[in-house]
């Protein structure tokens, strides 16, 4: 059976609070499914979005409860683009060091784990920041090639 995929762009604004993470994940989950991603990819999109939004809540907004995160899902023929937009302090993923994941237990520190995972979960990420526009994180997940139904 051949599936038909719609392309669309949908934006929703969320309160930048951890108890909204579930709604944020559900929003991108639906888009990932509409984009024809498989179960593993859909989970990856949810997880990457969660990690990115958690960083925005904790670092860009420093835990303030009254700010907003704008999430745009761009469903395309070849995959999904997620755009996260916030007006908090610049949190540049490129400036975050990698966690050390190979040392033994007592030496392990997890700073940068969220960003590390986002990079590995998504196919491409792009970050830009300016005082006027705020922080914009763009994440791309491509559909698997040879997707047959």
């Amino acid at each position: 059976m051949r599936r038909f995929f719609y392309t669309y762009m949908r934006t929703e604004i969320f309160l930048a609070n951890c108890n909204q993470l579930n709604d944020m994940r559900e929003f991108v989950r639906q888009a990932a499914s509409d984009a024809g991603l498989d179960a593993k990819q859909i989970y990856a999109v949810q997880l990457a979005t969660d990690e990115a939004c958690s960083n925005i809540i904790e670092h860009a907004y420093e835990g303030r409860g009254n700010e907003q995160i704008e999430i745009t899902c761009n469903v395309q023929d070849d995959g999904l683009i997620i755009i996260l937009h916030d007006h908090g302090k610049t949190f540049d993923p490129d400036a975050v060091g990698e966690p050390n994941l190979t040392t033994n237990l007592s030496n392990r520190h997890l700073g940068g784990l969220g960003v590390y995972m986002i990079r590995r979960l998504m196919d491409e990420i792009h970050f830009e920041s300016s005082p006027e526009s705020g922080n914009i994180l763009t994440m791309l997940k491509r559909k698997s090639k040879g997707d047959k139904e």
Partner: protein, 111 residues
């Protein structure tokens, strides 16, 4: 998210249902705190009914593992890790840090 703890002779079995993220991870940490403050450091965590876990959950697990393994007094092991969560743990380099078992019974039996 629902957490239940059952005390056995040689260990505690923590069963987690639902989703662990930044909002719910503190509850998980609280459950672990209650166990270690009771002087018990052998913990099996059954993830069989867990639908989702972010790095917040990984942090909570790492923290309690460090605590339990200190002075060789105990250890945290995992049971019934769902495939998506297993993949994410692999991505995060966490698999070498925890012994895993197919189910809670096997995990409890390890102790």
């Amino acid at each position: 998210m629902e957490i239940t703890t059952k005390q056995y002779k040689r260990c505690d079995l923590v069963t987690v249902k639902g989703r662990i993220d930044s909002a719910t991870a503190p509850q998980l940490s609280d459950a672990f705190d209650a166990i270690v403050h009771g002087g018990r450091f052998k913990i099996a965590v059954d993830l069989g009914s867990l639908d989702y876990m972010s790095s917040a959950g990984l942090r909570a697990l790492l923290a309690v593992q460090k605590l339990c393994k200190r002075y060789n007094r105990g250890e945290v092991v995992l049971a019934a890790v769902p495939v998506r969560i297993h993949e994410a743990m692999d991505l995060a380099g966490f698999l070498p840090l925890f012994k895993t078992f197919d189910d809670g019974t096997a995990a409890v039996g390890y102790f």
